[in-house]
Symmetry: C2
Subunit: 488 residues, 2 copies
């Protein structure tokens, strides 16, 4: 006979409340004092295994012991992405409203693959993507509230959005080409497909091509690291002459290397002319389009077929929340629509069944965190967050420019400063190693046209002007050490 | 000049603590009283939009107002997956330890794409997959602690695991065939690839074939709905004769339709003989293998190349946590390895960089919830949870068998009972409609070999024997109504 709840030994509600509230205090304490921790851990690979047993315990442990192990086992190996001393990669979001929303999502713990599987999960997502789309002033065709075909969806990551768009573009083109050439089989057509992106686009774009089994050409960006319409058109013409079928282009607004913006206003018309699907990857910089003064950088957006940015990067919604809008989602919905009886329901067609819009079947109730963040920050505060970060980048740039030993690489855009010591790649590699080795701040490098440089991304929502001064002093001190050593 | 923190209007730490603790109480109250809510909502598509504004607010709202809207806006549209009255699909997990772990994950909010991006995130995952693998008695070659090539990884969903394995199998076979036929190009080889699965496997397997752009044949399961070795061998031989290249087979342990178990002990040897990658999809039933008495159902596992099950289904770890083990992860790692400078680090090679093991780039710190659940339940309680659910299925089966009007469809396995009224498909469709219409419990149907039946999945961790009696009475009362009406 089953054991009734009250005699079970696993965690019950009263203990949960104690444990969870203790965790709330821990979280608040962790985040409010995150500046005091060493941003990059000093552990070596394999550090964790000896700290814990080889096997799961047979009997339940006390939550107090688990709690104590967070500092003993986990924290020594954590890279503190939310420290104002963290300047690597791009930001990932973290906010109090999003954390609370995720708690609720974890409690409801529905799987929103169809409308009926939890109507609130689907419907809040539809409306939140409209809210967000309006905040960016996306063209009406992308919004569900326009009453057209278009709409938004939350993907897990920008990589998935790029892949989903590629698969939609592939399906659309296959259909067209099959009509034109009824004698060609699928594999013949796929072997002729060719997509485009800039040599500055994110590694996940190239990977989407590998995953999707199609050619993706990395086109040369111009001297400002932007992909131009002319370059795209030339490539398309070449490929058409060679008997290939251009089908997809990814334009990046805010590249990972330098936060460069492809010329969407040029790429869009060219792509439209040649029936090439335009996907816009604005993973990082897209959040800035909630501020009117940055929207000139998305000029041409009305020409795009799909648009994606990550509120989980720069808009204070915890990972994962990658917002994607499609003008014609049916290309994706129909291409991979496998519809078994156990997933059918009476309301099909009257609301999106988001499982058809994405790679996985299952999905969490992620719209909650978007809702909580938008309401508990308000648009004003979210804009202020973006502007503050852009201001910090300018502050760092000014410090850098004032030091003769340094130079800015490219143009400072958004919250990213690319800079280097005047001198060789080796010198700058040594500088980065020294900065990260001092352990007070954390940066990663990049390389463009064989020039190695350092990237200073403003990442933390806790950052204050004094933090930027601190980070600059660290860079400067590392340079002092390095240059002094080299003089010896 | 940036606004200092203390004068900002967004949520600060003290408010967060109040809000989050209020949410803790709400969650506990929601879950402990979930039985009292109507399991399936009565809302119509489009219900939510009129309940909230058309746009995000400009200024921040009070958290108390957001909290109040959870009951007003969200709850009317929630399908309560954790109610003991929910018997649809398969369970999805929800537990107090997992919810608390996810809070911590949200606070640390690191992105674990490489080891250096947060060593604890990668290392805890490696060790947790070893703990879990040992609990299932997986062969040593799957475990990282064996010191070999193999190891585990947390994927988002079983659909992704199936796709990742397919892509690994594709890469492995492409390499082999290219060596044998240096004159064949990639598209020629891809066009010849053929994979296999049973006609009983999950819709996501068929979809993985569509996404991966390869043929996947749905082979006929035997009269017990199991895929047999003989059937596979015949298909492979046919395809080889037709000049195709068999490369991948998905064996399902616990199908969605009826929880049938493919004969892995027969499939494995056949697949090994023909160089076909064996992926095991045990999404639901895999959790049961933590109980020794069910391990006979995974006989042949040593022949598999990859194995996947979802602790987020039946092992009390909140979604998403899909555990996957690979004997040779390098096929996946190498196939899609795009390695830009900004993601390189000094320790590459000495610990897994999990970004290469999955479709997306980004990843949350999901191992925390596995760690919390394993420690705070202990193996004994997790086994008890599985056995309790299997016992509830037997309890329901006995009630069903005792009623002459009903019959069991197939064999009761794990926590799933497939049953029907003796009679036509139409009769059973009417029965399901009536049951769901009464609104007291929720089931979904399935259809195998043109026989429509109802699926009663035991889903909630709150289920008690009295709940099963209640669910049976609901089924029985719906049958009373239906049959009485038909007699009129």
């Amino acid at each position: 006979m089953p054991v009734p709840c009250e005699t079970r030994t696993e965690m019950q509600a009263p203990e949960f409340k104690d444990f969870a509230k203790e965790m709330v205090d821990y979280i608040s304490n962790y985040l409010e004092n995150i500046r005091d921790r060493r941003v990059l851990p000093t552990v070596q690979p394999g550090y964790l295994r000896p700290l814990i047993p080889d096997e799961a315990p047979q009997q339940p442990e006390k939550w107090e012991d688990v709690m104590a192990d967070v500092e003993r086992v986990i924290m020594p190996g954590v890279t503190h992405w939310h420290s104002p001393k963290f300047h690597a990669y791009f930001p990932t979001a973290n906010s109090y409203p999003a954390i609370v929303a995720d708690m609720l999502s974890g409690a409801i713990a529905c799987i929103g693959f169809t409308w009926i599987a939890s109507p609130a999960c689907t419907e809040l997502e539809v409306v939140m993507l409209d809210w967000l789309g309006k905040m960016l002033e996306l063209p009406q065709e992308f919004l569900a509230c326009s009453g057209g075909q278009g709409g938004g969806v939350i993907q897990g990551t920008a990589s998935e959005a790029t892949l989903v768009a590629l698969l939609g573009a592939k399906a659309k083109t296959m259909k067209r080409v099959k009509e034109e050439h009824p004698d060609w089989d699928d594999h013949t057509i796929v072997s002729k497909l060719v997509g485009y992106t800039s040599n500055q686009s994110h590694s996940s774009v190239e990977r989407a091509g590998l995953l999707g089994g199609v050619k993706l050409r990395g086109l040369k960006a111009d001297e400002n690291l932007k992909l131009r319409g002319e370059t795209l058109e030339q490539a398309i013409k070449e490929d058409l002459e060679a008997g290939l079928i251009p089908f997809y282009v990814v334009a990046t607004l805010g590249t990972t290397n330098t936060c460069a913006f492809d010329r969407l206003d040029e790429i869009g018309p060219v792509a439209n002319q040649y029936n090439v699907w335009v996907h816009v990857d604005a993973a990082y910089a897209g959040s800035a389009f909630i501020c009117p003064e940055y929207r000139y950088l998305m000029k041409g957006i009305e020409r795009a077929d799909s648009f994606n940015f990550n509120p989980h990067k720069w808009m204070l919604v915890n990972f994962d929340c990658s917002a994607m809008w499609l003008k014609e989602p049916y290309w994706i919905v129909n291409a991979f629509n496998v519809d078994p009886l156990y997933l059918k329901h009476d309301m099909q067609g009257s609301a999106p069944d988001y499982r058809h819009w994405q790679i996985p079947l299952g999905r969490r109730f992620r719209a909650l965190k978007l809702w909580f963040v938008l309401r508990l920050y308000g648009v004003d505060n979210l804009q202020a967050h973006i502007r503050r970060h852009c201001g910090f980048a300018k502050q760092f740039e000014a410090l850098c420019v004032a030091d003769d030993r340094f130079e800015i690489f490219g143009e400072v855009q958004m919250g990213l400063v690319c800079f280097k010591l005047k001198g060789s790649n080796e010198l700058n590699e040594a500088l980065l190693k020294r900065i990260n080795g001092r352990g007070n701040i954390h940066l990663v490098p990049s390389k463009v046209n064989d020039v190695y440089f350092l990237r200073m991304a403003v990442c933390s929502r806790f950052t204050e002007p004094s933090d930027i001064n601190y980070s600059w002093k660290e860079v400067s001190a590392a340079a002092d050490e390095l240059l002094a050593e080299q003089k010896k």
